[in-house]
């Protein structure tokens, strides 16, 4: 039987399937067995209690949804006291996602989150509805470097940087995060989007802009994971449009060590554990002994070309 475990930094995860931040909470234990997941990932928390954005916070689009939740939550103190213990009842490592509008506060939050029950600090530096100077640091490499350096200095926990698909030069941002000391990169957050209702001429979301989420976007995020994984020396976690075991394989072939799943778990609460089962079957049927053999195994070094076209491309 295939060995599904993957290592990211010094931490071992029993399989490469993780929930995506904001799409999961310990309450999913009402439906599935959380101990089967590769990791537990808490929703992004901020320092102060936040109410989040005006409703409606979600609208369906032609092929997916846009959402703008606005990082509501009861703040870090409540989180450490009441939520972390809920996650601690389960076995998989706990990844805590955190966001802030200033680099100093970000570092301080990371320090405060460095408690025994927290295994990884995921830095949500890419919330699409925040602006580049107020929380969405991942649009620009210098902002990314600055904020990640502060966090790195503040904690000994593994730190992961969650990057933005809205950045123009994602590879540069990724390299900046690596240089600043990130242990892994999570690619990607949501695509900044807008829907206008034609019945009342108003934006469909209370917050106007929202982040788009859809299986449709997988090829774009996959391209980003592929480009980044070729350039960095730290693990990449692919997040975007995973709805089945083949998608996990595709991300791993492109260079990802693991995947995060959001939408699929909304559509089918039992999706995550089923994808783990299916991935196991997929590997076993093909005699793949370690799932890590898939990482970066895309065959792209001998692209078959139409001979005539190859000639015209100087190959």
């Amino acid at each position: 039987m295939v060995d599904l475990s993957v290592k990211i930094g010094d931490l071992t995860f029993q399989n490469p399937i993780q929930p995506a931040s904001g799409a999961f909470s310990w309450e999913y234990n009402d439906v599935i067995d959380l101990n089967r997941l590769g990791a537990l990932v808490a929703k992004t928390i901020c320092r102060e209690p936040r109410l989040g954005n005006p409703t409606p916070r979600m609208a369906e689009t032609e092929a997916g949804i846009i959402q703008s939740i606005g990082l509501p939550g009861k703040g870090i103190d409540y989180f450490l006291e009441n939520i972390v213990p809920e996650y601690a009842k389960f076995e998989p490592p706990l990844v805590v996602s955190v966001s802030s509008e200033s680099a100093e506060d970000f570092a301080e939050l990371a320090r405060e989150l460095s408690v025994p029950d927290v295994d990884v600090i995921e830095c949500n530096i890419s919330c699409p509805t925040r602006n580049t100077t107020g929380g969405n640091f991942a649009m620009q490499e210098d902002h990314t470097k600055m904020v990640m350096e502060g966090i790195r200095a503040a904690t000994d926990k593994p730190v992961w940087a969650k990057l933005s698909p809205n950045a123009g030069d994602l590879v540069a941002v990724a390299l900046a995060a690596e240089e600043a000391g990130a242990d892994a990169l999570v690619i990607a957050n949501t695509f900044l989007s807008l829907k206008i209702r034609t019945d009342n001429f108003r934006p469909a979301l209370g917050n106007k802009f929202g982040g788009m989420v859809s299986p449709a976007l997988k090829p774009i995020v996959l391209r980003m994971v592929y480009q980044v994984a070729k350039e960095v020396n730290i693990p990449v976690i692919g997040v975007g449009g995973v709805t089945k075991a083949e998608d996990v394989v595709e991300y791993m072939l492109a260079g990802a060590h693991a995947v995060g799943i959001g939408y699929a778990g909304f559509r089918n609460p039992s999706a995550l554990t089923t994808i783990i089962d299916d991935l196991e079957t997929w590997c076993d049927e093909r005699g793949i002994e370690k799932v890590t053999d898939l990482i970066g195994a895309v065959k792209d070094d001998d692209m078959e070309m139409d001979p005539l076209v190859a000639a015209s491309h100087g190959v």
Binding site: S25, M58, P269
Partner: protein, 290 residues
Amino acid sequence: MNDLAPDRKYTNAAIPVGGVDPHPDKPSGEFITDVVSNDWVNDEYKLLVVRAAERALTAYAGQFYHLLCPSPDGAEVWMRRPMSIYKVDKAATCLEFLYKCEGRGTQGMATLAAGDKFNVAGPLGVGFSLDPAWKNIVVLGRGVGLATLAPLSQLAAENGVGVTAILSARKSNLVMSEDLFDELGATSITVVDEDGSSAVENVEKILEKLIADGKADAFFTCGSSRLLKLMQNLGKKYDVPGQVAMEQIMVCGIGACYVCMRTFEVNGEKTLKRVCREGPVFNMQEAVGW
């Protein structure tokens, strides 16, 4: 050599009727139900009856299911739709949903026919609760809000609690559940816009009469902001406790995403709560309308 076929597969382990239940002790699950019937109740509402695995039948009044609606038009419906449980028929191992055909999701539901499969997740949320001290309650519902209140009346009947149901609608032919309420021994009063009987002032009179008659140990409502306000005011004035079932657009339905929040006023302080997790049934005095 065909890699394109799996492009659109979704993955789930929803439990079919008669299937093995991997988590018999969990409060909620993803189930594949069998459609038994799906008939029009009036011009706008349909009643869907589905047969489900045993654990799916633990739903109680005020809880909801999150439904994976089929497509009405050949393209996907991307999000589930929350729907109150209208009736749990343990003998027939059936769940019933009473719904209004509105947008793509409910229009898709309307296409379901006997024999089709239908994926439902639940039961979810916190439903109605009855204080043993209450002997008589009043339920006031408008439109499809009655779908949510019907099983409460059943619960009350089962606990020997008397029910007066005030059923409000635009037109008399849109009043549903009258028979159901009658069957359960509830006294039902129908008010409609057509003849003005549904006007707030008139409903107010009816409620005050019920309070005076000792028929209103608690208030329950769903489906109208206006009627909620009325009950809140009377409840405050006459010290009648109450519960309200709220609605909000949902994504996860489980408490993870914070999409479904509404404002509540608790001890004078405003706060947001998740309709799917802390609700959909809330203390009536805490609700801030919708």
